[in-house]
Amino acid sequence: MDRKSGPDRDTFPKLLRYNATHRGGRPASREKEYGIWQTWTWAEVEEETHALARGLMALGLAPGEKMAIIGSNRPRLYWSMVAAQLAGAVPVPVYQDSVAEEMQYVLEHCGATFAIVEDQEQVDKILSIADRLPELRQIVYGDPRGLRNYDHTTLHPYSEVQETGRKRKSEFADQVEANIASGTGSDTCIMLYTSGTTGKPKGVVLSQDNIIVTAMASAEFDGLRETDEVLAYLPMAWVGDFIFSMGQAYWCGFCVSCPESGETMMVDLREIGPTYFFAPPRFYEGLLTTVTIRMEDASKLKQRLYRHFTELARRVGPRLLDGKPVSAGDRFRYWLGNVLVFGPLKNTLGLSRVRVGYTAGEAIGPELFSFFRALGINLKQLYGQTEASVFITQQPDNEVSADTVGVPTPGVEIRIDEETGEVFYRSPGVFLEYYKNPESTASTKDAEGWVATGDAGFMDPATGHLRILDRAKDVGKLADGSLFAPKYLENKLKFFSNILEAVCFGDGRSQVTAMLNIDLTAVGNWAERNNIGYGSYQELAAHPRVYEMLQENVEAVNRSLASDTMLSGCQIHRFVILHKELDPDDGEMTRTRKVRRSHIADKYAGVIEALYDGSKSVFANIEVTYEDGRKGSIKGDLEIRDVKVFPTGQSEKVAAE
């Protein structure tokens, strides 16, 4: 099979044709319906997609127009992306959990004329903002439930649109074929809106070449093939999902399975047993927390087996995975552990068959990372951005570590700005432009094609791998001039299972302070085991013993920071536990759950002030937004604790490091 993107494989419509011809009988999409996995082969997917494209053209979808796609991962919605391209239009996936106002901004900004949505929930959202979207002409929905009595002048069921496309094949088939033939790699492939860590989301325009060349290079890097299996469960509007579930799937021809619903994801994961798997660190954290909790409830014998073999695995597993020498005795014991503990555990988690596993987006705790590698799961890190079509660097097999993000993906060049330490890259995946925003395009991408990542980092001289420190704009200085890297600190805090989120302050201040969120699963379970009663999240978060426990965690972070000469000034002097979880609905985080610092600084100004004026507690009244858009507030007195700091250079080792 040829491995280069030739003129017959340089766009998605052409790749679809290629796959339908060369591997027409192989599975392409899978979805669980009524409890049974339904499979579509590449040939069937081509038929479905083309029928949809003709139906959309019959409804009046014209070349160059934008079509919004809103819903959770469904094969039909993935097909509609290519169907839009077949009609010459540009698909714009939108985060399905955005509230109507956020959706309005994106739909208005991209000027979508069509929208394909999953169900009534999304239809209702669009109808509620329809009067502010003059350009939107037609809405197509997948699930007809609850929509029977709606006005159907501009609303159409998906199956009907496809049916029209089948009936009127002769009218539109030629046009579709002409669109396929005239398509080239420089055409716009997709528009993806960034989650908007700062300000309004920006529409990143990516070309067919951007996606396909990147998918090709990264697939080759990891030896992906048509027999691989993936589970598509991350938001369709996120570039990563587009690369994994569309780009690499179409390039390699592997099958993409969609879970039945968000809640059944773990069961579906187990049934599918993906061989190629991506998840954010948060997901692995959740898995480890569940495993730990369930082991604590298990019988004594099982607990001892688990402890014994995971200890062995931590020592032997990563070495085995990297092909380093391991003694025959250890090999045998690891094999035994695999039979008794790791095998069944991996099977329960649905990770038995994972050949290539990735994590990215946030730093991953070394403890966490080594746990999964110890089990024999080839978990690696990558570093990427929407603007780069994901891949900037990734870790090759056998060269994996928790604190680097790997070597540049083939075709990517990296440059570190000497003054600010900011990372720049140039690659075939670099985006065309920000839609209707030439200023931002110019400030992000220079004339030679170098793109600023906004992250500060350096190339590790020992390994040649890239190491990311923090967002370049977030790296600041304390009043005494020492370096302050908030995200680095926050990640260190979040490595403790009790702490879900942390926000650190200190830029331009005399000392560092922190706001923490407890992890309700871990702390709740701990409370149950220790007979601590609580009626609400707020009550648990304010419990003195929870404070004590978190204080120990913060002290442990301080102790490890003391040994780092660069960052020892960053030790946390005071902290507070918040009475509510930081939430994207309240604008405190992005949809991809990244902390929005400036917004939090405004909203929690009173709390931050109290962190610095030495007071022992503070009254906080914080506004919250419910899922239906109503507003309320959560108020309460929050205790502030002082934490011990350690003198620089004290090299006491901490277990978590």
Binding site: Y34, G35, R145, G146, S261, V267
Partner: protein, 285 residues
């Protein structure tokens, strides 16, 4: 919406006119499906129901409300055939109903849920809903024992119906979970699923929202309306929460001390002085 219509309509034409005036959905003008005429029910010397008459129309959501001890559950049990009233008649789909056992009534197309959940706690969600298909199973024990062939085919057919209900109620994630382990709100939803599995013409819901929080109530309301709309199932429900009833019911019967004190659209009932007195209390002088 006008609030001046206080009298209950007595003919179909009047209903239609009133409904039009209220901008309600047209399907409420369906034919009478069930009629209860002059029902009186006594337990020894205690009069639970006195001379109650009302009807339930094809395709509507009919609510029975009233303060505690008003006789709501007794009324439902009469419709259900569990209690046999001393006086009065129950007509269902054009036929007068004699004394029947509850399972015979179930076969006629009436299904119900209970105020206190009555599920099989040790069985999975799937199996619980499957029990709702019992009245539809044709193969006897011998066939079931042989299993291969007709009995297996039958089970597959029934399983399909059950899976559609699971999908409809969005309970895929608890398909195989024993219901005893589920939270209350979800158990209520499973119970609704089991009632739906019998593909009833008339669905009786006994306090479907009792003990639920606001979010669970909203979900339940949506499911009730969806059932009504998607399957065209006629629904009669008892409910305490007035707000909920007024939102989802097409017509409401109000009982107090075993007597009917109001009957009509939510707006009419809301503005009736007698109903207000019964709910808010009134000084007797």
């Amino acid at each position: 919406m006008s609030h001046d219509v206080a009298e209950a309509a007595s003919t179909d034409a009047e209903y239609a006119a009133q409904e039009k005036a209220h901008g309600l959905r047209p399907h409420q003008t369906g034919t009478v499906m069930m009629e209860v005429k002059n029902i009186s029910l006594r337990f020894g010397g205690v009069k639970a129901l006195t001379d109650i008459s009302f009807d339930i129309r094809e395709g509507e959501v009919r609510a029975i409300i009233g303060p505690n001890g008003a006789g709501k559950s007794s009324m439902l049990n009469v419709i259900n055939g569990f209690y046999h009233p001393q006086e009065g008649e129950v007509w269902f789909r054009g036929q007068r109903r004699g004394k029947m056992k509850p399972h015979q009534i179930a076969k006629q197309g009436i299904a119900r849920t209970f105020q206190n959940i009555a599920l099989f706690k040790g069985m999975s969600t799937l199996d619980n809903i499957m029990t709702g298909r019992l009245t539809k199973m044709r193969r006897n024990m011998v066939w079931q024992a042989i299993w291969k062939g007709p009995a297996e085919r039958e089970e597959i057919e029934h399983r399909e119906v059950v899976e559609k209900i699971i999908d409809f109620l969005e309970i895929q994630s608890i398909r195989k979970t024993p219901v005893g382990r589920l939270p209350y709100g979800l158990q209520k939803r499973v119970e609704l699923g089991r009632a739906l599995a019998a593909e009833p013409k008339l669905l009786l819901l006994d306090e479907p929202m009792a003990g639920m929080n606001v979010e669970e109530k909203e979900d339940m309301c949506r499911f009730i309306l969806d059932v009504n709309e998607e399957f065209g199932t006629t629904i009669a429900l008892i409910e305490h929460d007035m707000g909920v009833v007024m939102d989802i019911a097409d017509r409401v019967v109000v009982l107090d001390y075993g007597k009917k004190i109001g009957d009509g659209t939510p707006d009419e009932v809301r503005s009736s002085q007698e109903v207000i007195d019964a709910y808010l209390g009134v000084a007797h002088d």
